[in-house]
Amino acid sequence: MRNVDIKMLKQVQHDGPLDRITIMDFSYTETQDMIRETLSRFLADTYDFDSRNKMIASASGRDAGIWKALAQDLGMLGASFSEEHGGLGGGHLENALIMEELGKVIAIEPYLQTVVLGGGALKAVGGAIADAVIPEIIGGNVIIAFAYAEPQGRYNLANIRTTAKKDGAGYVLNGHKGVVYAAPWATHLLVTARTGGSGSEPNGVSLFLIDANTAGIVRRDYPTVDGFQASEVYFENVAIPGDALLGDEGAGLPLIERIVDEATVAVCAEACGVTAKLHSGTLEYARQRNQFGQPISRFQVLQHRMVDMFMEVEQSKSMTTMATLKLDLPAAERMAAVSACKAKVSRAAKFVGQSAIQTHGGIGITQELAIGHFFKRATMIESQFGSADHHYARFERLTLAD
């Protein structure tokens, strides 16, 4: 399990008019193949449609044993962390392939929030806090929720009203974060807040990792339409220690943008799994559903629609690979790549989801088949970390100046 070999991305410099990069190696290492196979086998056993429905309907809305098993039996939560922290030495590619497998069963595990976002921030800042918390993530003892969105802020990461006022050695938090996925399960909250500035100003934004049980944190919990649990989180004079600050005070925005980009690509990887299942489930259904004396898969108009779904799934995989490999490029290039990816994948998720339901006919709009539940997750993915429109606009700002 030790020879994880992920080459750093180097951009080939060109003096020509075109930005030309090529991939000459698309293969996965043995370790990566093993991660995928192990996880896929485990999820096939634990995440069938009925089990998933049961865990969602339970009091906590999840099966905590699965997270423990992912950590302790499979070692899966360490895949993207360094060996010094007790991980397997992987990174973005490992996150992507784990998210894709989770997508194939529409898992409701807080991997994105805990490992990709929380872990990503900790890896980026390093130091004592990373040494303390990362091993706990790997061990399955820590669940992190990312409290960043605010009712007025839409997809603008800098539009923050939550404040963190300096108070002696620590800070005092006040504000409201909306739709914080996994917050009801979290041991920690990763919080964006203003230590200075106002509105959408880039300066003055800071990132904190705090204990979720700190006095003054008030939650209103609820289920989400795609099977997760989330909360409205209110900070009412929450006193937090100074070492909860990740990175430099007031200069957290680039770090936040980076981890959100990493999470955006991870969600695209999840979408690859979700849409692949929407497509294969639709094919399977169309083969066995008879109307007009034949399987409806014989009708060319449906065949061509299913081909279009296939092409969207394949292109989503291509874009996700592209963006995963570009996550360590300088910020502007990374952002353009991530936005290109998310814009394409958002539209694919919409098209594939809607087509799957349409091809199923009436049964598609019921809760009875898994297909509808995949559709719901695909629909939420469309706008998670920014809709297609948001990402087209960001791509344009970065690449299509006058």
Partner: protein, 397 residues
């Protein structure tokens, strides 16, 4: 996984870039820049330079005149050709009949035909389609009847690209009318100067003379010019179609096309701002560019699969569909970008017409190119046929 060239590959890139810069014919460049139609000699001038260098057929096996380049080197080569806006080489010899001949031909046939394909001395055309046999190619009716050492061929082919220049054509003909559609077909090489061969122009929407009708009346073709066995021509045809599809994504050329649109959109004014600042137009460019990136990485994944011994599978139909749609969208946006000056039409333009055309240079061919490019979703297996192929071969329905 990695996204990088090795130092050797970077050196190779530099080498081909320098070669192109130093050897691309200057008069050809000006013909292209002014938007004239290319003559046979224009095409051949660049072909001959590449042939002399030994770089005319990178995809061929070395023993037949290939370069022995790796897939990466071939990729770099095609990117550099597109970036330098070089004219393409004609595919009919190099990408189509050449591979059929070295794969299925006799030693004599290889010796007779391959050198002329490489040197450019023989110009080839493809005689498959007929008025009654388009997508359903196997319904073709052109007939070849054995008469001693010859076949006597009668029938009509159509859409034959550049047949007006051709020395040779490769034809699918029916040699057994009683067999099932695909089984009675043979693959014949016909000298276009043979008595009974008549080529008539068909003028396409941009005003170009690009395609032709080819009439065959009692054309005597030596049996020695049949490739592979009698009635087994469909095997060659299928093999050739697979070859025809590689490179069909045309990513490098489309990237160049997108760059051209951006530069037009920065020049054209839309009220008091450049067109590229118009949010609707800008969004269309962004969509195009992102879709092209998706195509590029899908092609790279497919190439990587091929290098690992997997492909080129029927998923190459995906590359054909998306590649052709993108080519069309590029011409569509270019025409939209030039505004009023899409309208002026130059009849006989390119045949000694010295008057400077009206409007900016980049507008001259915007409309004709848009019209002409509607072909990309029709030929090479229409996009509907490609969807049928994916449905059957990939999805199994």
């Amino acid at each position: 996984m990695q996204l990088e060239f090795s130092p050797e590959e970077l050196a190779f890139q530099q080498e081909v870039r320098t070669f192109i810069a130093e050897n691309y014919p200057e008069n050809l460049r000006s013909v292209q820049d002014e938007g004239h139609d290319l003559s046979k000699e224009d095409f051949l001038s660049w072909h001959r330079i590449l042939a002399k260098k030994g770089w005319i057929a990178p995809a061929w096996p070395v023993e037949y005149g290939g370069t022995g380049w790796t897939a990466t080197q071939r990729f770099i080569w095609s990117e550099e050709l597109a970036a330098a806006d070089c004219v393409g080489t004609m595919p009919f010899g190099l990408s189509m009949v050449g591979p059929v001949i070295y794969t299925f031909g006799t030693p004599e046939q290889k010796a007779q035909f391959l050198p002329g394909i490489l040197s450019g001395d023989d110009w080839w055309c493809q005689g498959y389609s007929e008025p009654g046999a388009g997508s359903d190619l196997a319904s073709l009716r052109t007939k070849a009847v054995r008469d001693g050492d010859h076949y006597v061929v009668n029938g009509q082919k159509t859409w034959t690209t550049m047949a007006q220049h051709a020395d040779w054509g490769f034809f699918l003909v029916r040699t057994d009318s009683d067999a099932k559609a695909q089984e009675g077909i043979s693959f014949l090489l016909i000298n276009m100067k043979t008595p009974g061969v008549t080529v008539r122009p068909i003028i396409t929407l941009g005003g170009e003379h690009e395609v032709n009708e080819v009439w065959l009346e009692d054309v005597r073709v030596p049996v020695a010019n049949r490739i592979y066995e009698e009635n087994k021509g469909w095997t060659c045809a299928k093999f050739l179609l697979a070859h025809e599809r590689t490179g069909i994504a045309a990513v490098a050329r489309s990237k160049r096309g997108v760059e051209k649109i951006k530069s037009i959109a920065r020049t054209e004014q839309d009220g008091d701002r450049p067109l590229i600042a118009n949010p609707f137009f800008k969004r269309k460019i962004a969509e195009l560019e992102i879709d092209l990136t998706a195509l590029e990485f899908t092609e790279l994944r497919s190439l990587a699969g091929e290098a690992a011994g997997k492909g080129p599978g029927p998923e190459s139909s995906l590359l054909k569909i998306k590649g052709s749609e993108i080519q069309q969208r590029i011409t569509e946006l270019a025409l939209e970008a030039v505004g009023h000056y899409g309208a002026p039409y130059f009849r006989g333009f390119g045949e000694g017409d010295n008057e400077h055309p009206i409007g900016p240079d980049y507008a001259h061919r915007a409309a004709p190119t848009y019209f002409n490019t509607r072909k990309t979703t029709i030929y090479g297996g229409s996009n509907e046929i490609q969807r049928n192929i994916i449905a059957k071969m990939v999805l199994g329905i």
